[in-house]
Structure formats: C-alpha cells, structure tokens
C-alpha cells in the first residue's frame, strides 16, 4: 500500500497545496470528493461502536466482525484519501453550525489537509492491524465484545480528533479517546492495579485537560471562534496580543503534556501498560498519545508565536520535549517489564516530537510521529507476541533466547528496534535526523545535545531489551512457541513501513515535506526547510550504532548471571575488567553502565518517589486529608453544625422561656402588671 503511494508520488512530481477557500463550502470544487467525505471517518466506527454494543454478542464472532468491517472501511477510505491528496486535492473545509450559543455559532466540521490525511493513514493502519491482532490475542476474553466496541469508539474518537476543524470538536475527540484509554487500560479491572492505572491515566490527563480547556477558551475569546485555521491566522498575523498568546500556548501545553505524557505528567503512561498489549500499541504508542503532538502541530501558529520559536535559544515547548526525551530514555534502562521499556521509549520519542516542534522543525516532528507510529506499534505488538508465547509475562527476566522459538516475531522486532534506534535507512533514522537537524539549524544547542544523548540511550536500551528477550537462554516456564498468523502477519505488515517509510523524506525524494506541511492561508508564514546534512546524519548514525554496540557488549557478551548487572553495575564493571581482551570496550561500557545505571536509577527513584509521589501525594492528600477536612470539619462541624446549633439554641431558649410559664397565676399577674407599669412608663416618658 505504501509502495503504491510511493509510485504515485513519483508519477505526480511536486505537490502543491491548493489555496483554501474562505468559507469552506466554496472551496469544494477543487477538493476531491473522497476528502470531502472525511466526516465518514469518525462516523463509521462510531456507528460500529453502537452496533457492537447492542448486537455484538449475538454475532458469531461476538461483534469483532463489525469492528473489523468498520476499521477496514476507514482504512480503505484513508488510503483513498491519501491518493486523492497526493493527487492534488485542495484542502477540504466543511462545516455546519452545531449550535448557536450567545453571540457565537459553534460549528462542527472537518478540515482535511495533509496532516489530517497522514493521521488518517496512521490511525487506521495501526487500528486495523490491532483489530486483526486482537482476534487472536484476546481470543476467549470474557469481555471480547466490549473490547471491540471500545476499539471502535476509540477509532471514531481519534479520527474525530484529527478531522476536527475546531478546538471544541477536537476537545470532544480528545476527551473521548481518554475515556477509551480508561476503559481499555482497565479492561481487566478485576485486578486493582489495573483499575488504579486506568484511574491514574484518566485523572492525570484530565489535569492536562484543564489547560487545554482554558487554552481553548482563551483562544476562543481572543479570536471569536474555535476554528483552528482562524486561530492560526490570527496568531500569525498579530491578531492576538502576545501575552494572551503565550498564556494560551502555556495552557495548551499543559493539555499536551497530559495527553502526550510529557514531563512531569508522563507518569501515567507506564502504568497504562496494564491494558491489553494491542491497546498499548494502538493507544499508548501510535495514536492517542500523539494527540498532543498533533494538537501542537495543528495549532502551531499559537505555539510558534506564543513561544517565539523563531528567535531560537530555548523555549518551554522545546525544553519540555528535551527534558522528557532524556529522562524517559534514562528510565527505560532500568525496567524489567518489556512493555514499560517500550512505554518509556514512547515517552522519550514523544519528547523528541515536542522538542522538534519547539525548535521549529514542524515537518520533522510530524514525520517522526508518522514513522514512530509504525515501528512503535510494531514493537508493542511484538512484545505482545512474546508475552503470548511466554506465558503472559512481560518480565524480561523470565524471557531470553526467544529468537529460536519465534523467528518471525524476532525479526520483525529487530526491524522495529533498529528503526527506533535510528539506524539508516530504516524509518526512525530519517525522522530523528531531521529533528536533530532542525535543532541545529534553529540554533537550539540544548536540544541538539539532549537529542543526541537520547539517541545514544535509545539505541542502548533497545539493544538491552532485544538481548534480554531474544538472546541467551530461555529463563521462563514451559516451552515458548511462535504466535499464530493473526499475530505475526500484522507484525510483518508493520515491518514494511518500519523499514521503508522513512525513505519518502530521504534526500532526493523528500516528498513528505510537500504532502504534509504547515500552511495557513492568507498568511505569509514559511517554515524553513533544512536540507539534509550528511555530517549530522553520520554523527547521529554513529551515536546510534555506538549505543547499540554498548548494549551488545553489556548484554550480549557478558556472562554474568541474569539481572546481576541491573542490581550491581559495579560488579558488572568488575566482571568486564576480567575480560582483558575487550578491555577498551569494556572500559567504555563500564563507564556507560556505571554512569547510565546510577543516573537511570536515580532518575527512576526521583520519578517514582518525587514526581509520582507528588502526583499520588496530591491525590492521597486530597483523599485522606483535604476531602475529610472539608467534609468532616468544614461541612459537618462548621456549616452543618452551625445550623444545628441554631436549632439547638432556639430549643434551649424555648426551654428557658417555658420556665416562665410556671402555672402560678399570680406570677403571671405579676408579669402582667410589671409589663403594664414598665410599658406605660416607657411609652409615656421615653418617647
């Protein structure tokens, strides 16, 4: 399929984005019919969701067929859209009034341009493969039907998110994917950790959503509409005060950090691995978590102007990305759970994307998003395959040597690893290289350095993962076996783009730039595109290879008992020192292991205890202290108590006054005459 796209692109030559019509509707002539029906993309899986929910259980495959059909349709439509787009369709802007509220008409609509089409392809491809993969992976699951329903709902929501032409509609999709994530992370909710993880994911992202909501509101009032294109136009043509723009950008960034697991809101993503693995591949690697990146890319005008990206140096966006990519990479080192390695890796890669956007490398970020989706999905599904084989464990200490038992999984996993590590000519290389290039050209030294270190670490921890999983002796129970076709075929399909897709932006071809570009009509704004820099490419390749080599030395050649190195890097150094033959390499690896280990550990400790601790602490404090305080002390004692006290006091006064009703007639008379005398005197002589 991608090959066909490649063919068409070679035939078409240069692609030019048509200018966008003003109101959307007028522009329809130039836009392709297929693209104009972009609204079908979220709608079909949405219908499928309800169909599965209500009729799924009665069908022979318990509703999976409906999901497959729907996602198959969207996939085909995405491919057709890609053809049409590459074939030169204009941007599609269609909208209709959703509702009128106050002075404003709130629209619902679609905006289909290169970015949208790219997201279509990413989402539907991964989703389709996950649908297929899950047939086997979740076979016999007690909530099989609900699982497929949730997948459909997720696909619908995600496609709605990417097709939305306005922020409000985007928020709808954004929240819905969050719910799907919640449902799917907690799919096996019988275990409390799973539901805890689901809650954590939802609540953490929800914290970010506050930012998104407030940011959207700020932009809404600044521009008078939720329409993203209008917002970009206003942002780029000085239509919004810079202060306001900065505020909005920071607020949106909060949302982005929540969804795309950026430091310090990244903590939910590793826990989210509690969900079924295909879900992790789809939601927590390829699609949902990139929603934040997508949002930044989509509303880039706001961020570009808000953070003054063109002025270089450093900015909050780039810094967030840089810090995240580094920290997450370090964290990936010390995981035993293969999915957690991949999860941290995802966080790290998302950091790359955000950093790329922060340095103005829009295309690089989007391109990385694109390539990453394929190879990371591949890796997750591979991990799932491994676990499927190795008695449902994800602990790498119980794996090893699987290369022999499951070759197809092994080879596809290797492709994913290499692609992630950024070794040419696989997909990851091209996109990561562009990011580093962008950082260099944009004069963001910090990001360049962090990115390079990250590249080293990426290669290194992925090497570790591969060696621990596939090499050495099998350390688990039973006899592993290769997964069936429903699992391996999707792996193999994903391996293809992981291998090749990067080439579409390779020097000499460079089509991705044309297909997917940040373009705002009626605004003179141009993001510089940097030409391929062979020197930088070479350096980054070397770094990656070096990282891989270190991993090889540490994890492949060493004969230390399993897991020892993880616990005692110093003894590992000692072990290696005995191997004089590899002295120099060992020295290097020792330093690497010796520094990376403590650093990683330290970071992890900080992560678990400080950041996670703060987040959990806020939760716990709210739950254990603030909430009971509010309820027990403020509400029950103070507020409610006050009312009860008033009632009590009234009653007590009544009791006292009641004593005056003594039953003694002459006491009554005394009061009568006293009142007469006092009253008469008061009236006569005081008034």
């Amino acid at each position: 399929m991608l090959a066909t796209i490649a063919q068409s692109l070679l035939a078409e030559g240069e692609h030019v984005v048509d200018s966008v019509g003003e109101g959307g509707h007028e522009a329809l002539e130039a836009a392709s019919w297929i693209l104009q029906q972009g609204w079908l993309m979220p709608l079909v899986p949405a219908v499928s969701f309800f169909a599965i929910l209500f009729f799924g259980k009665r069908l022979p495959r318990q509703g999976a067929e409906i999901g497959l059909a729907a996602v198959g349709f969207t996939f085909l439509w995405a491919v057709l859209s890609a053809f049409e787009w590459i074939g030169g369709s204009a941007v599609v802007e269609r909208s209709t009034t959703w509702f009128s509220n106050g002075r404003f008409d709130i629209d619902v609509g679609i905006h289909v341009d290169g970015l949208t089409v790219m997201m279509f392809v990413v989402v539907t491809t991964v989703s389709a493969l996950v649908h297929v993969y899950s047939l086997e992976y979740l076979r016999g699951d007690q909530r099989f039907t609900y699982y497929y329903a949730a997948l459909s709902l997720f696909t619908a929501s995600m496609l709605n998110l990417v097709v939305a032409d306005n922020l409000l509609q985007l928020i709808v999709g954004w929240e819905l994917v969050g719910v799907c994530s919640f449902m799917l992370i907690g799919h096996w909710w019988e275990e409390k950790p799973n539901s805890d993880a689901a809650l954590k994911a939802f609540l953490t992202t929800r914290v970010g959503d506050v930012g998104l909501m407030l940011g959207a509101i700020t932009l809404f009032f600044a521009v008078g509409t939720f329409n993203i294109e209008a917002i970009n136009q206003a942002a780029l043509s000085d239509g919004i005060r810079h202060g306001l723009l900065l505020t909005a950008a920071c607020l949106l960034l909060l949302g982005v950090a929540g969804k795309s697991a950026q430091f310090p809101l990244h903590i939910w993503l590793p826990d989210a691995m509690a969900g079924p693995t295909p879900v992790s591949a789809l939601i927590h690697a390829a699609t949902m978590v990139v929603a934040g990146v997508y949002l930044v890319a989509r509303t880039y005008g706001v961020f570009f102007e808000g953070f003054s990206i063109d002025s270089g140096g450093i900015n909050l966006l780039a810094l967030t990305g840089g810090v995240t990519l580094f920290i997450a990479a370090a964290l990936a080192f010390v995981q035993h759970d293969i999915k957690k390695v991949l999860a941290y890796s995802t966080v790290s890669q998302l950091g790359y994307m955000i950093a790329a956007l922060g340095v103005g490398a829009w295309t690089a970020a989007v391109f990385h998003l694109f390539t990453h989706a394929f190879f990371k999905a591949l890796l997750f599904l591979g991990a799932g395959s491994v676990s499927h084989a190795a008695h449902h464990t994800f602990d790498m200490r119980e794996m090893g040597g699987l290369r022999k038992y499951m070759p197809r999984t092994f080879w596809t996993f290797i492709i994913g690893t290499v692609a992630l590590a950024g070794i040419p000519p696989l997909a990851g290389f091209w996109s990561k290289d562009e990011i580093l290039l962008g950082a260099k050209e944009g004069d963001f030294g910090t990001i360049l350095i962090l990115g390079s270190i990250g590249a080293f670490m990426t290669a290194c921890y992925m090497g570790r993962t591969v060696f621990l999983t596939f090499f050495g002796e099998y350390r688990g129970h039973g006899t592993p076996h290769e997964s069936p076709g429903l699992i391996t075929v999707p792996l193999m399909i994903l391996a293809v783009p992981s291998l090749l897709i990067g080439l579409i932006n390779a020097p000499g071809i460079e089509k991705f730039n044309d297909w997917v570009a940040f373009h705002v009509p009626d605004v003179t704004f141009h993001l510089e595109h940097h030409d391929f820099d062979p020197g930088l490419a070479l350096i980054s390749t070397v770094i990656a290879v070096f990282g891989f080599a270190v991993a090889t030395w540490v994890y492949y050649w060493q004969k230390a008992p399993k897991g020892l190195l993880e616990r005692q890097p110093v003894r590992a150094v000692h072990t290696f020192l005995e191997q004089k033959y590899y002295l120099d390499h060992i020295a290097v690896s020792g330093i690497a292991a010796g520094t990376a280990g403590p650093i990683a550990r330290g970071t992890y400790w900080i992560n678990q205890h400080v950041i996670d601790g703060i987040v959990n602490g806020v939760g716990v404090a709210t739950n254990r202290f603030l909430a009971p305080f509010t309820y027990d002390v403020l509400d029950q004692e103070l507020v409610d108590g006050m009312y009860d006290d008033i009632a009590g006091a009234t009653s007590a006064v009544g009791g006292l006054l009641r004593k005056a009703q003594s039953g003694l007639i002459q006491r009554y008379a005394l009061v009568l005459f006293a009142a007469v005398g006092a009253g008469g005197a008061a009236l006569a002589y005081l008034t």
């Binding site: 006491r667 006293a674 005398g677 006092a678 008469g680 006569a684």
Partner: protein, 164 residues
Amino acid sequence: MGPQNVAFGIIAAAMIVGAIRVVTTKVVVHAALYLVVVLAGAAGLYVLLAAEFVAWAQVLIYVGAILVLLLFGIMLTRAPLHPSSELDNDQRWPALVVSLGIAGLLIAMLADAFQDDKVRITNATGTGEIADSIFNQFVVPFEVVSILLLGALVGAVVLARRDD
C-alpha cells in the same frame, strides 16, 4: 379648706386604710369588713360629687350584693376565722415594687395632666338624666348587660351546684 375637703380627707383616709387592711389583714373575714369601709367610702365620695344615683347603686349593689356574695364565698371555702399567716404568698415584695411603680406612674401622669383643675359641682346629677342617657345612647349595652347577667346567673348556677 371647705367642709367638702374635710369630708374628702376623712373618707379618703378611711378608704386607703381600709384598702390596705384588705390586702394585708391576716383574717379573711376582717378583709371583708374592711372592704365594706372602702366600698362605703366610695359611695360617700360619689355623694360628695353629687352623683347620688351612682352612690345608691354603689351601696345597693356592692354592699348589698357583691359583699354578700364574697362572704358566702368565704364561708363556702371554710376560711379560718382566726389570724392565719398563710394568706400571703411569697411575692409580696415584688408585688409592692410593682404596685408602687404603677402608683408612681399614675400619680406623676395625673399631676401633669390635671395640675390644679378644680371640680365644679353645679348641681346634682339627676336620676332622670342618667336614665335618659342609658335609654338613648346606651340602650344597646343596657340590653346586652341584661343578657349577660342572665348568662352569668345561669352559668354560675350550673357551675356551683352539685350534680350528684
């Protein structure tokens, strides 16, 4: 100081002493006798004021009827004929304070209002005049009072008689 004033002084003194004895005596029957002094004194005052009809009415109704009733009451409740210290309750002092207070209020107010106004007694109020007034202007209350008296009579009989 005319004879009228002398008469007033004597009557007033008798009345006040009588009234004080009524409210302080330790023998119930004595109280009734002192009350006669007060009531008769009042009749005397009416005569002084040339309101003869009222004076007669006072003597007839009060001394003749009400006092008799009260004496019946004393007898029927078997009031002791010897001094008893149980006739007063425990709120004499507050009662004194309240009554003195009211007295002070009233006297201050009256002194203010009428200062040295004199009573001009031109001629005795004739019975006819009173009858005219009653049967012209006050015929309604008169009729009603008659029914009221009937009611009081019937009711008092029902209450006071033994049913068994």
